[in-house]
């Protein structure tokens, strides 16, 4: 029997009201992501990549179609229910890192674990910080870390939850080449080691080439 896909999107569309009338951002998006898959979504600016990521992650609701996360209907749920489901299955890595400035590196990694009510959050967070090579920087605040280091903390935070699915939005977009390569390598290593499915939005063709599947988003439609 085939395993349940981690993420399924069917006929997903998103329209918004604009002064000039209805504006279609996305239409007829079909996607299936299995456990351990790596999927790259590329496309020119304004093609709707971030909007699509938001819909897939339940951060926004589609105007048409639906999303199922680990077999459970996702896009029809209310905000709280989507947040709970997201917390259980998904993690994120952002281009701007989005660490909480008031929390240390360790506390940032602990945050999703604590939200989910996980046991031994501190130990797990320490373990993941060590995995990304920042074991000695756990008491540092984001402002005391370089961009590359911040993104590695964000990776530790994402993987600490041992998610079934990781969304990464331009994860190397704010880094120089050396740091970008290091973070990308780490991202794929962790993905491989833990069987986490990866949905990656990027401009970087080299990064996209690392993925098993590559879709390009053009004028709101996916092409293989």
């Amino acid at each position: 029997m085939a395993s349940t896909p981690v993420l399924v999107a069917r006929q997903l569309s998103k329209t918004v009201s604009a002064p000039e009338g209805e504006l279609t951002l996305l239409e007829h998006i079909d996607l299936t992501v299995q456990g351990g898959d790596t999927l790259a979504i590329t496309g020119p600016s304004g093609s709707g990549k971030s909007t699509l990521l938001g819909l897939l992650a339940g951060l926004d609701v589609p105007t048409g179609g639906d999303v199922r996360l680990a077999g459970e209907p996702f896009s029809g749920l209310d905000e709280d229910a989507r947040a709970a489901l997201r917390g259980r299955y998904c993690s994120f890595v952002f281009q701007a890192f989005h660490l909480v400035a008031d929390l240390t590196a360790l506390e940032n990694v602990m945050l999703p674990l604590e939200i989910a009510g996980a046991d031994r959050a501190r130990d797990k967070a320490r373990h993941w910080l060590a995995r990304v090579g920042l074991g000695k920087r756990e008491r540092h605040f984001p402002s005391q870390l370089s961009g590359g280091e911040q993104q590695r903390v964000a990776l530790a935070r994402a993987f600490a939850m041992e998610p079934a699915l990781l969304f990464a939005d331009e994860p190397t977009g704010s880094l120089d080449r050396a740091n970008g390569d290091q973070v990308a390598e780490m991202l794929f290593d962790l993905n491989r080691d833990h069987g986490t499915a990866l949905v990656l939005v990027t401009h970087d063709p080299a990064l996209a080439r690392h993925c098993g599947t590559h879709h390009e988003l053009v004028e709101g439609r996916l092409s293989a």
Binding site: S50, D60, E79, V100
Partner: protein, 817 residues
């Protein structure tokens, strides 16, 4: 050049942060201008009023007339000669002891005389005293002599015509220094009356009008010529003695305005942070396209300041309008016109506040590389924020210099400001660090709330300090305002006694009480009075027991004259026991006024001996009392326990309130009890009550300004943190947090911030009671329920936070922005 066309100047008003800054500057302008204009007007009026009260800007007093050389020194200035003495006026078999003031034609130098053409007729004013051959008599003297205007009285060897009823003299002063009915006569008639024989006690005055700067010169010229029996009284000395509630109001006004300035500065500082973030992207784009520093500063700062100018002008206009109303309300032609320089300084003060608190934060945009702005890395290093804040304090220093009339006052204001603006954040820093360390094991929601506050000290500390200050100032202002009003009103209740009666004897008492009953007169109490001298302390003659040698000392003066002693079973309302206790209901105990006791070195337990013509009495000091001398009640240095003074000859003293319109019956009272001395203090009372009503309204206006600036700080603080709060909430949402957790964190953050602010405001209130009490109330400022006001004020804020509907727009949009 900044573009000053209307549209770009209106655009900033769309921003909440700009509106808060504009409102803060408006309140700040209004407060500073109102206090500066009010102080100028009151100083001006007070200088005139005190000059009126003492009869001139300088008064040369002596037991002999001023010498020819002294008169020549002031010949070029308007001056007037006065002789004051007591004499008996006679008509037929009736006579009355009066206080006479013999005046020349230049009298009065300031103010006007209030006189009436008949007893109880509507009074009018005149600007000169009686001509030769005429006397003007106060009502009680006419009543005693049973005479009226047009009749004659005998003064010494002369018959003089009664020309007018004397109602009030401008130089009557705030105290009733003479118990006898007052009489005004011409100086030329004095010799011919022959009332001044060698040895008669006369006070000669040479009064000089030397307004403004001239006074110092005259003082310099006259001082070297003074004979031992002469002294000079100046309008400044007199003003110091009689400021009363105005002194408190003036001090409270300066303190309040500095608080308003600091609070508005805090609001401007917090809102400027948000404005800086709002302007950052535009600034970065301008830089990217090659705009130079000058262009950016002109576009951003110039336009910002130009858009703020209307608020400053509105503040000035409101203060100016209020000032005109104040002048109209106070009446009189003597009005102060603020100079152009004053108006310029008033317009400059809010600009200085803005420059101090907002400019460094906006200026920084011009220095920051576009790369950092576009990467959203706007946060200034801690050291720079610290420098900005310290620099910002220079602005209120300049304003303080403007507000305080003297260097001493400036020093006090600066001390207060440094304590509040630097000391307070430093003081809060420790507890904030401790809370952060102690919060490591807390559950997630309170820990996140605490972290947000504790780990952003450069945002949290100014916000917390501003809120602590706002809450503490509100509670202190409420307590001080209420206490000031209470004190003023207590000293002058609505039915404060308007007549005082002396020389009532035991046999008069029943008939006198019955007269009071039939006239609905309200009497606080009757005091038996014994005239006696303090002669022994602990068995030793008082001259040996008291070693102080200063002739001006209060104790020495008390030893040199007969004192009025009384006995009572209850402590008068205007007295307060400061040491020991009030006297018991058994003879032999005495309570002493505390300042006199300190001057004589008397302590609880001392045995005092008094000698009166009818015998002597001894009593033990059981307590010391603070006496409110300004109260319109009989007050005494020595109050004995009931029964102590029974063996000595005594008369009775009382005061009573007689409703308006019943004054016409007073001549009957005087005819019924011819030996009594009746003092009419209605005019003084009206003047004092009017002053208090005005001071109360001014205090209320200051409280409203304080409230407005406190609300602005709260709004600015909320706005300053809102963007970061929304981002954090969005991130938590993405990481799987439910609404309940977000709401808990937000409410706990507010609760910790507001609760912490209320707690420290509560403590600050407690600590400030002592210095404020010492400054405004001579050390008397008790704990009151107002100390709980910070807690009461934060409750609605917390409730608003809890009940506020929360909208969660697409969180990813925030994180992607």
């Amino acid at each position: 050049m900044p573009d000053l066309s209307p549209r770009p100047l209106l655009r900033p008003w769309r921003s909440s942060a700009f509106r808060i800054q504009a409102l803060a500057l408006l309140v700040c302008t209004l407060a500073i201008a109102a206090v500066v204009l009010m102080r100028g007007e009151l100083d001006h009026r007070f200088a005139n009023r005190t000059a009126e009260a003492i009869g001139g800007d300088l008064v040369l007093e002596g037991s002999e007339p001023a010498t020819r050389a002294q008169r020549e020194q002031v010949a070029a200035l308007p001056h007037s000669r006065i002789s004051a003495f007591s004499t008996v006026l006679v008509h037929g078999d009736t006579f009355v002891l009066t206080s006479v003031k013999a005046v020349d034609d230049a009298y009065p130098l300031y103010g006007e005389l209030t006189v009436a053409e008949q007893r109880f007729a509507t009074p009018g004013t005149v600007d000169q005293g009686p001509p030769p051959g005429e006397v003007w008599l106060a009502g009680p003297a006419l009543d005693r002599l049973e005479q009226n205007v047009g009749d004659t009285v005998t003064v010494g060897e002369r018959q003089l015509r009664i020309g007018k009823v004397l109602v009030r003299e401008p130089d009557q002063g705030a105290g009733f220094y003479s118990m006898n009915p007052r009489v005004l006569m011409n100086l030329e008639d004095v010799d011919s009356t022959g009332v001044l024989a060698p040895g008669t006690r006369v006070e000669y005055e040479l009064r000089i009008a030397a307004p403004g700067e001239q006074m110092a010169g005259v003082l310099d010229r006259l001082e070297p010529t003074l004979a031992p029996h002469q002294e000079i009284d100046t309008r400044e000395d007199a003003a110091m003695r009689s400021m009363g509630p105005m002194r408190q109001l003036s001090l409270w006004g300066q303190l309040s305005v500095m608080m308003v300035v600091l609070l508005c500065g805090g609001a401007v500082y917090l809102a400027a942070g948000v404005r800086s973030a709002e302007q950052a992207r535009r600034c970065a784009v301008m830089k990217t396209f090659g705009a130079g520093r000058r262009l950016i500063l002109g576009q951003i700062l110039g336009r910002e300041l130009a858009a703020l100018l209307p608020s400053i002008l509105v503040g000035l206009a409101l203060a100016g309008g209020g000032f005109l109303l104040l002048q109209q309300w106070l009446g009189d032609a003597l009005t102060w016109r603020p100079s152009v320089l004053t108006w310029l300084l008033l317009a400059l003060a809010p600009v200085v506040i803005w420059a101090g608190f907002a400019l460094p934060r906006l200026w920084r945009l011009a220095d920051l590389p576009a790369r950092l702005i576009l990467a959203d890395r706007l946060e200034a290093p801690a050291a720079r924020t610290g420098r900005n804040l310290l620099g910002a304090l220079l602005a209120p220093v300049l304003v303080a210099m403007m507000l305080s009339g003297s260097l001493v006052a400036l020093g006090q204001l600066l001390l207060l400001m440094v304590a509040v603006a630097v000391g307070l954040p430093l003081l809060l820093w420790g507890p904030l660090r401790l809370a952060d360390k102690g919060g490591a094991r807390l559950p997630l929601a309170p820990r996140l709330a605490l972290r947000r506050l504790a780990r952003r000290p450069m945002t949290t500390l100014p916000m917390l300090a501003a809120m602590v200050l706002a809450l503490a100032v509100m509670s202190l202002a409420s307590q001080v305002g209420q206490q000031l009003l209470g004190q003023w009103r207590a000293s002058l209740p609505e039915k404060a006694p308007n007549y005082f009666v002396l020389n009532l004897f035991d046999q008069d008492m029943d008939a006198f009480r019955s007269w009071l009953d039939t006239h609905d007169a309200e009497v606080p109490g009757f005091y038996p009075v014994v005239r006696a001298r303090l002669t022994e302390v602990n068995g030793q003659p008082v001259r040996e027991a008291v070693t102080k040698e200063d002739e001006d000392d209060q104790g020495q003066r008390a030893l040199n004259r007969d004192l009025s002693l009384t006995q009572a079973d209850t402590l008068p309302e205007s007295n307060r026991v400061t040491d020991g206790r009030w006297v018991a209901d058994a003879p032999g105990e005495v309570s002493v006024e505390s300042e006199l006791a300190a001057s004589l070195g008397l302590e609880v337990g001392d045995e005092l001996g008094f000698t009166a013509p009818s015998g002597s009495v001894t009593a033990t000091v059981v307590g010391l009392r603070e006496v409110e001398w300004e109260s319109f009640e009989p007050n005494f240095y020595f109050m004995f326990s009931p029964g102590t003074l029974e063996s000595l000859n005594r008369y009775w003293l009382t005061s009573f309130y007689l409703p308006e319109g019943q004054g016409a019956d007073l001549p009957d009272l005087i005819r019924q009890f011819p030996q009594i001395t009746l003092l009419d203090v209605n005019a003084l009372l009206d003047q004092a009550q009017d002053l208090i009503a005005r001071a109360s309204r001014a205090a209320l206006a200051l409280a409203v300004l304080l409230l407005a600036s406190s609300v602005l700080v709260m709004a600015a603080a909320w706005l300053a943190g809102s963007q970061q709060r929304r981002r954090d909430e969005a991130l938590l949402r993405v990481l799987g947090a439910r609404s309940a957790l977000l709401r808990r964190v937000a409410v706990l953050e507010q609760a910790l911030l507001l609760g912490g602010a209320a707690l420290f405001a509560h403590l600050l209130h407690l600590v400030a009671l002592w210095p404020l009490g010492a400054k405004l109330f001579d050390g008397d400022m008790p704990l009151s329920w107002w100390i709980l006001l910070p807690w009461v004020l934060i409750l609605p804020m917390l409730a608003t936070q809890w009940l506020k509907p929360r909208r969660h727009s697409a969180p990813l949009a925030r994180l992607m922005s």
